[in-house]
């Protein structure tokens, strides 16, 4: 048969049994759409996490009190498990691979000011903190070393706090009462969005660490230390140096006794990406199962139609079709059916991706690779299950194919 008549014959045959064709294609449509959407959600989550980690700030190193294997063996009683400004100062004096360093002193509580009150976290930091996080101000200015020394009651609002307390007004110069202590607002941070670890970096207030220690947390302990290395390349040296300084400061002999944990951005990124990769894999395999189920559906329908089609094959053979004619016909039908099913599935996936990206907070990143893979797989499923029974029938004697029940 000529190519054109093969194609038209396949289209005719597909249209002749619309319901069967639709059911067959439906398995492919749903399977392909599910695989693409699921994997794209995973990819989207992964991209989101990576972006957020990148937005944490460059060369960021975080030093937490407590051992790294927190879930395992507990540290001996009496070991120092909180930091003081001595630790920060010591690092500042001794470290050569650290550019900026800031203590973080956390104080939660009610903030009153502007149009009402708001529950948020107040963080005491040093002026360098802005550089460590690579954050920017949208208005006003940040506090200086002078404010730290004088323990000024000044603060900088996160964009979310500003929105809630001063929705319409410029807050600069106003007073807010943090746990009843009045602080003067001198700046507002730019909006940053949700962070990778689920912390909202817009819902906070920054103030000089000395003021927070003095007026709010009422002690001498700081929660953790953030620092940035002189460059990305020098991260390992910076970490090694920090470890050495901290051990000396805390008089620790062996690494097992470490009462601090040093993490860098790469560690965080690795952990988070690993989690989302597992998520992608999980979603992908769930969807893959649906594609296989779709494939089994196709097989069912193909098997059901085999009787009818075996007779049809018998008729075609009896009037002079060769086995290859039959195979080409069935292959063409199967390919056209699965191609159109796959195509509709891809369109469906793009539609769902559009909805996810525009109407939900869950982004979907549709990668060309997954489109290709699921499309190819669905095609293979369709071809295999459509082709195999046809091949069997095409190799029969015409009369046996005609008699087939």
């Amino acid at each position: 048969m000529k190519f054109k008549s093969i194609i038209t014959a396949a289209i005719k045959s597909i249209l002749k049994s619309r319901m069967r064709s639709l059911l067959t294609a439906l398995g492919i449509i749903i399977g392909v759409a599910a695989v693409i959407v699921m994997v794209s959600i995973g990819e989207g989550a992964q991209k989101q996490v990576q972006e957020q980690i990148a937005s944490l700030g460059s060369n960021l190193i975080i030093i937490y009190p407590g051992a790294s294997n927190s879930g395992g063996v507990s540290r001996g009683a009496g070991s120092i498990n909180r930091f003081t400004m001595d630790d920060v100062n010591r690092i500042k004096d001794e470290a050569t691979f650290i550019k900026y360093i800031s203590p973080i002193v956390r104080a939660g509580g009610q903030v009153i000011g502007g149009v009402g009150n708001w529950n948020t976290s107040t963080q005491g930091v040093s002026p360098e903190y802005l550089d460590i996080r690579a954050w920017k101000l949208s208005s006003g200015e940040f506090f200086t070393d002078k404010d730290v020394i004088s323990r000024s009651k000044v603060c900088v609002l996160g964009s979310e706090v500003k929105k809630n307390l001063f929705p319409n007004d410029d807050p600069i110069g106003s007073l807010v009462r943090i746990r009843n202590v009045p602080f003067k607002v001198i700046g507002v941070l730019e909006e940053k969005g949700q962070s990778a670890m689920g912390v909202n970096n817009d819902d906070l207030i920054l103030a000089p660490w000395s003021s927070v220690l003095d007026r709010l947390s009422g002690g001498r302990y700081i929660n953790f230390i953030q620092a940035s290395a002189t460059s990305l390349a020098q991260m390992p040296q910076a970490q090694a140096e920090l470890t050495k300084i901290m051990r000396e400061a805390h008089k620790i002999q062996s690494p097992e006794d470490d009462d601090f944990t040093i993490r860098n951005q790469a560690d965080l990124a690795d952990a988070a990406t690993a989690t989302t990769k597992v998520l992608t894999l999980l979603l992908g395999s769930v969807a893959g199962v649906s594609l296989i189920v779709g494939g089994i559906g196709i097989m069912n329908i193909m098997l059901v139609s085999v009787t009818e089609r075996t007779r049809e094959i018998g008729i075609r053979l009896s009037i002079g079709a060769r086995a290859t004619d039959i195979l080409v016909q069935f292959l063409t039908e199967a390919i056209m059916l699965s191609l159109s099913g796959g195509l509709i599935g891809i369109f469906l996936a793009f539609g769902m991706g559009y909805i996810l990206n525009n109407y939900t907070s869950q982004p979907a990143v549709i990668q060309p690779a997954i489109i290709f893979i699921s499309f190819a797989f669905s095609g293979a499923v369709g071809v295999f299950f459509g082709f195999y029974p046809a091949r069997k029938a095409a190799n029969l004697n015409p009369i046996d194919a005609l008699r087939y029940e």
């Binding site: 048969m1 008549s5 014959a9 005719k12 002749k16 049994s17 009818e308 007779r311 049809e312 018998g314 008729i315 075609r316 053979l317 009896s318 009037i319 002079g320 079709a321 060769r322 086995a323 004619d325 004697n397 015409p398 009369i399 046996d400 005609l402």
Partner: protein, 252 residues
């Protein structure tokens, strides 16, 4: 006489059903010459269909030789078999064996789709022609289940004719037709035979067998009688008789 078109030598066909063996053909020796019109007769189960399927190259004999146009068919491969079915033989089945949900015209066109030599330049025109010849010019776009049994069989005959075969094989072609239509169909076969096409058909009715030039009778897979008919009936004459009978009936 003219050349031999079909020759079987000791043709045997044995079906195996479980442990049982059914000997459908037990050594058939038959020669059919070009231009003959042969009717195969015999009781049900005597092996008529089995024989037709073998000489139609739809099935292979268990043992024995079948020469078609002096070619030993057992030496041919599957594709050559397909080519023979497509080019040399037009087969009309006991059942109609039309593609369902496919119009009469498309059914008739089908053999031309598988013609690798494209002997017929305009398949559609040819299909319309043969459909008109079997009297279905006004039913071309009907699908089989919109046609009567007789009409379906005529579509099947048109399909057998479309590739201009030199041999037409028909297994009880008039089994589902009323007597008038049956005679018309035999008229058609007689006309085709007059044009030089060899015809072998199976029929149960001696009346219809008398339209042929030779009757071969089978019993239990063997030929028990093979005789020429001196003066075959002419379908056109019989049709005239039928008409006058009808007219007479109406008058009285």
């Amino acid at each position: 006489m003219s050349k031999i078109i079909i020759e079987t030598r000791n043709l045997v066909k044995t079906y195996k059903v479980g442990d049982m063996e059914v000997n459908a053909l037990k050594g058939i020796n038959l020669k059919i010459f070009e231009g003959e019109f042969v009717a195969i007769m015999g009781a049900s189960g005597s092996g008529k269909s089995t024989f037709m399927n073998v000489i139609g190259c739809l099935d292979q004999p268990t043992t024995g030789d079948y020469f078609l146009d002096n070619v030993l068919t057992s030496k041919l491969d599957k594709n050559q078999y397909a080519e023979i079915r497509n080019q040399k033989i037009g087969f009309v089945f006991q059942g109609f064996n039309l593609l369902s949900r496919t119009t009469a015209l498309e059914n008739v066109e089908l053999p031309l789709m598988y013609d690798r030599h494209h002997r017929i330049k305009d398949p559609k025109k040819k299909a319309v022609e043969v459909l008109e010849r079997v009297g279905l010019g006004d039913r071309m776009d009907h699908v089989p289940n919109q046609l009567s049994g007789g009409q379906q069989q005529r579509v099947a005959i048109a399909r057998a004719l479309v590739n201009e075969p030199s041999l037409i094989l028909a297994d009880e072609p008039t089994g589902n037709l009323d007597s008038k239509t049956s005679v018309e169909v035999f008229g058609l076969f007689q006309q085709l035979n007059k044009e030089g096409i060899t015809i072998v058909l199976v029929t149960h009715e001696r009346d219809y067998a008398n339209f042929s030039k030779r009757i071969v009778e089978l019993r239990d897979g063997k030929i028990i009688r093979d005789k020429e008919i001196e003066k075959p009936l002419t379908a056109t004459e019989e049709l005239e008789k039928l008409k006058t009978a009808e007219v007479n009936q109406e008058i009285s």
